[in-house]
């Protein structure tokens, strides 16, 4: 009963809409068209001085800003990697190991964790990070042993 009512309602509404279609279209507000100028001026909102109002200045500032953001999207990736490396270096040094030794050890141990994830481990999972360090150190020691450079290990080339 309820469904039937709904169905009839739906057909009635659709019939009405189709009948009134041109009128409805006219009644609807025009689709918001944004010109290129409006887009740029909107992007310039909050800029300093006349750059936020004057078209000529706003266009110059927005174009330069967009060029900077193009560059910065690439710099962001480099900076993130630098940050992870600094984090890892600090984490490794807590276990008397340098960053370069850690990476070398991880390569020897065939551990494929990337720097992002390793730095996450160093921050959030100290026990797991210690386990990774232990693996890296073990790999370095095995390499040293196989090369017969125990003496170098004793000199501190291999962190204990």
């Amino acid at each position: 009963m309820f469904c039937a009512l709904l169905g009839s309602l739906a057909t009635r509404i659709s019939a009405r809409t189709s009948a009134l279609r041109p009128a409805l279209l006219l009644a609807q507000p025009a689709r918001e068209l944004t010109t290129r100028k409006e887009t740029i001026l909107r992007m310039a909102k909050g800029y300093r001085g006349r750059s936020k109002n004057c078209w000529r200045l706003a266009r110059q500032r927005v174009e330069k800003a967009l060029q900077y953001s193009y560059i910065s999207r690439r710099l962001k990736k480099r900076d993130a990697r630098k940050g992870w490396i600094m984090q890892l270096n600090a984490g490794a040094r807590e276990y008397n190991m340098r960053y370069s030794q850690l990476i070398n050890g991880l390569t020897l141990a065939r551990i494929g964790l990337n720097r992002k994830v390793l730095s996450q481990l160093a921050i959030q999972e100290p026990y797991s990070f210690r386990a990774v360090i232990t693996e890296a150190r073990g790999a370095l020691e095995r390499k040293a042993a196989s090369l017969g450079t125990r003496a170098r290990a004793a000199d501190g080339a291999i962190p204990q």
Binding site: S69, R73, G112, L113, V117, L121, E125, Y127, V132
Partner: protein, 158 residues
Amino acid sequence: MLRGRLAGLGCAWRAGMVLGRRALFSPLGPSPAWARTALTHAPVLPPPADHFAIVELSGRQYKVTPDCVLCTQSLNAPVGSTLTLDRVLLAGSSRRTVIGSPLIAGASVVVRVEEHNQLDKVVVFKKKRRKGYRRWRGHRQKVTIVRVVNIDAAQLNG
């Protein structure tokens, strides 16, 4: 639908974003603030999990916990389908850590595809001065939002 925005949190998805909680090693336990947000945002942020894994998906590594949501690169799988990711590099629980060399044999992470979406628009504008060269391109990165259903690593229990 999230429509590029994270429902209830008011923050935008970023590529590679992982939403999940893990408070294993916090000496204080879950904070009261987290307990409050857990009530309002329960569908999005899962409760703290007791184990995690690091899994590789389309060349990127993610630290995931059961029930966490992550924003990955576009995957060719229908919404609602599950994928088994077998490239697990590390798994950890409160008791042990299993490190793959480079992968953990037999371990897998099962994810369910929740949504295909696009990130916010990025304007790619290039220009060379005095050369009449300018390019204005809009770009919306295609992303897939997946939820981790299960982390399966037998070595964690052994």
